[in-house]
Structures are given as C-alpha cells and as structure tokens.
Amino acid sequence: MNILEARAVTKRFGGLLAVSKFDIIVQERSISSVIGPNGAGKTTFFNCVTGFYKPEEGDILFLEQTICGMSSDRITSRGISRTYQNIRLFANMTAMENILVGQHARLQTNLLDVLIHTPRFIKEEASSREEAKRLLNYVGLEGRGDTLARNLPYGDQRRLEIARALASKPRLILLDEPTAGMNPRETTETMALIRRLRDDLDITILLIEHDMRVVMGISDVISVMDFGQKIAEGAPKEIQQNPQVIEAYLGRGMAAGIDH
C-alpha cells in the first residue's frame, strides 16, 4: 500500500525552482531515501510534505488523501512526523518535556481540565509521562529525562529528536540527515535504531542522507534529486550503477568504492 505519494510537486522561491515536478511513491513499512547534492531540493520537499511550505503545483497524498495545503499540526495529527537536519529541539525544555510536547496532538485535556484537575487530566498527565519515559528508554536516553535539551551531548540530541518525533505515534517519519556529524559507532547505532522503528513499530521511514554507507545499507528504494528534479529511482544496486547518478552526485570513485 502507498503511504505517501507526491505528484508533480513544484516549489518556487522567486525565480528559483527548488522542487520541480517531483514524484515519489513510498510503500508502507519501507525505508526509502532521497539523496542528491546540496541544494538539490531535498529538504524543501520535506518541508512541502510537512506543511511548512505550500507547493505551487502538484499534490501530496498521505494514505490516499491529500494533505497539500494543510497546516503542520494537522498533518502531524494525521500521522506524519519529522526530525531536522540542524537539530531543532526545544533547547530550554527538559528531554522529557520535549517528548511531552511531541505527544501534544494526541492529548485531550482542555483548559477546564487543566484548571480544575479533573480525573481525566490527572490520568492523562500520568500516562503521558509514563509513555514519555518509555520513549526515552527506547532511544537509549534513560535517566536523562530531566536534563535540559541544550545540555545533552550531540548524539543524544539527535536521538531525543527521534524520540520526540515518535511521541505523536506517527505512521511515517521523515528523517533529515539523521547521522550527520556522528562518528562511525554512533552511525551504526542509529542505523539499527531506524531499522527497529520499522520492524518493531511498523513505522515507514523516508530519509535524506549523505552518508552512502547508511543509504546503501538500509534503503529499500532510493530516489535521486538534482536541481529539484528526480533523476533516478531504484534499489541501492541500481542507483550505484546508474551513470547519470554517478555523474551528478556519487562520483566514479564513490560508486566503485561501495562495490568493494
């Protein structure tokens, strides 16, 4: 089943064509990657999917319903979540609170519940904290819940961002360069975590990544972008041998290197 489908999505900034007639189909429970040189329009496309930008043309369907033009918070409650290329945690909130904010869309209590502490409020607060603790443990941040997000080490911040994205119980997660700046060991751990998201939690993953070891290692399907357009799509093996991709992005050495 298609979980996400983009049809001829086009996004312009003034005269610049950032994304041009971009199509993609993401299968449910797959791990798909979007790769391409810097400035190819990958993050802009993510921003279109999450409602931060509204594309000028084309349509984006999530679970066969259009989400094009919706606000981010509504798209999140439909079941899409994301992380950011440059970490964007709520820096002055604790790790735990970051996750609690991530749960926002699923919580029910209103102003009245909050003011008079109805049983519903007390129950929801307790269960959401319990759930947040489980998410902390899940990404390996046990005991760091009361640390301010800005005081966490870099790798932990990346993991916290994933935990926060999980808090809304999404069916699709967009990861924007999840292993950027990580050392080889952290990268391997993150790859394992991404696989677990799919295998344990049935979450579909769409990621942007520059580390070819990660991309080739975990992707089912890879889409290659250049100058806002899709220039290739296929399984990792096919992409590595695609002359156009080698020309635009991988380079001859890289393509050869991965084979060995």
């Binding site: 999450t50 409602g51 931060f52 606000s71 981010s72 918070d73 999140t76 409650s77 979540s81 994301r82 950011y84 964007r88 709520f90 820096a91 002055n92 909130m93 604790t94 790790a95 735990m96 609170e97 609690l100 904010v101 991530g102 749960q103 926002h104 869309a105 699923r106 919580l107 209590t109 102003l111 909050v114 003011l115 502490h117 409020f121 129950k123 607060e125 307790a126 269960s127 959401s128 904290r129 319990e130 759930e131 947040a132 603790k133 489980r134 998410l135 902390l136 899940y138 005991g143 760091r144 819940g145 009361d146 301010l148 926060r164 999980l166 808090a167 809304s168 119980k169 939690l201």
Partner: protein, 348 residues
Amino acid sequence: MKNNSNFLSKIRMGLKPHLRTIVILVIAALLAALPILDFAQRAYWVRVIGYAGLYIILGLGLNVVVGFAGLLDLGYVAFYAIGAYTFGLLAGNHFDIHLSFWLIIPIAAMLASLAGILLGLPVLKMRGDYLAIVTLGFGEIIRLLATNLTGLTNGSQGLYSLDSPYLLGLELKTGTHFYYLIFILVLLVLFIVFRLDRSRIGRAWVAIREDEDVAQMMGVNTTRYKLLAFAIGALIGGLGGAIFAAWQGSIFPDNFNLFVSINVLCLIIIGGMGSIPGVIIGAFALIALPDILREFANYRLLLFGLLLIIMMIARPEGFIPSRRRQLELHAEKEAGMRKPSRRKGEKA
C-alpha cells in the same frame, strides 16, 4: 538525652526538603497578618504592599504572554485600562449605572480578554520586534481613546466618586479591605498560572517560545495557543484594572500610560522571565523598593535606575530564573503511587 538530640536532628532532617515550603508559608502568613500587626506607619505599608500585590497580578498576567509564550507585548496597559474603565462606567455616576462589583469583575475580565483576542488576531504572523511595536501602538490607542472619547469616558476629567464594593453588607473602602481583596486575588491568579504552567497548555506555550515552527510540526495549533495566551493575559490584566478602579475610586487616562506596561515588563525581567516566583520578587523589588528609597528624595529614581542596570549586568537571568520541572523522577514517584496499567502490545 541522646535520644532527645536524635529526635531533634530527625526533625531537622525531616524538615530540610520542605524548607522552601516553610519559608514561603511563613512569608505568606506574615503578609496576611500585616494589616493587623501593630507597627509604625502601618497604613502606609499596607498601601505600598497592596499596590505591589496589584502589580503581582499584572505581572502574572503579562508573564503568560511574554514569559510563557514568548510574545513580546508592550501594550499590556490596554487591558488594565479596559478593566478599569469597565468598572468606572458600570459603577459610577457617569451613566448612573450602579452594578455590583462582583458582577462587574467577570464582565471586565471578559471584555479585556475579548480585546486580547482582537489584538491577537492581526498580529498572529508577527514575531519579536514587529509584535512589540504593534502592541505598543495598541496600548497608546486605548489611552488616546480614553482621553478623546469624552462622551464615553469623560476624557481627561476622568471618572470619579465610583461606588465602593460591598461584601456581605460591609463596604470595602479602607486600605486594609483592598489589601485582603488583592491578597485573595493574587492567590487565585497564582493558582491559575501554576496549573497552566504544569500542563500540556503551558508546555505548548513554552514550545512556541522556543521554536514556533517546530511546535506546530509537533502538533501544537500555534494560532489557537497564541490567542489563548493573549486572552488569558488580558483577562488577568482586566481583573487588575477593575480592582485598581474600585480601590482608587477614580480613574484618569493618565493612569494608563506607557510606563505601566514598561513597569510590568521590567518586573518580569528582573524576577526572571517565565518564572512565577520571579514575578512576586520582581513586583516587590520594582514597586515597593522605590518607596523604601524615599529617604534619598530627589536621587531616588537615579538610584533605582542604577540598581536596575547593575542587576541586569550581574544577574541577567533574573532573581529567580525559571527552572524547568524535574519530570522523569516525578513520573517514577507517581507511577509507583498509581501504578498505571501498562497496556500490552503498546508501541515502544
């Protein structure tokens, strides 16, 4: 003997974690007893601290907007004015309407809150400096309307000989009466803002302050929550205004100049942005301190300004910086107490 000292040290150890609560309770009890204690210049001090209490109310209200949600509002006096004029018009001779104070209070709060939403709507897309300028203008517009809509507000002549509130047949008119009225209202507003702060609503506001775009991506309807912050902030400001009008018994447009907004903002910054105890300390420091400095006569404001500058250089985060609550250990304690059933097969 040994047993006895053991017993005492046990008490001391037992009290230690509650020290903060005890200090707060003692100060609160002293403040509550202030008007009935016997000391020199009692009436004067009751008035000064009552006035500081009024500013605590305003500070707590503006803190919702600026401290929690991070929306820089320089026109907060507008809501104070709306509350005050609501009381002035509904409890005086100007239109010869004489409603009960207890009826006017909710009306004033609601009108101010409505004004908060009306101000909020056009400025939703604005951030930082731009928002500050627009709200500054809004504050001035309300003051100018109060000055120039002479038919409605009696212009710069103001509204005077306003009705006193009655409580169970007792006419509230002395400083002590209003001291207690304000005292109770401070407690009520404290209760409200504490509960808001420790809820998904408070967290959504802080998330908006930290990063509005990401907050929206996390599912926070930022439009709705920003309007809610404006509405609640304004509501509390309107409440303060109505009490002020009832206490002073008269109001003039000049009571609602820019300096009220600036003062309230300053007390929040001095106390510690977003910090509720900070607002209380800030109000005492900013409103009561100038009176204590009275002895220095003409140098009073100079000294006061210097103190502010030194304070901001030495401790820019404020007297009591807002601390994020420790939740992880808390969750453990509460989980132990209520044992939430972990649903089987649940994610994560």
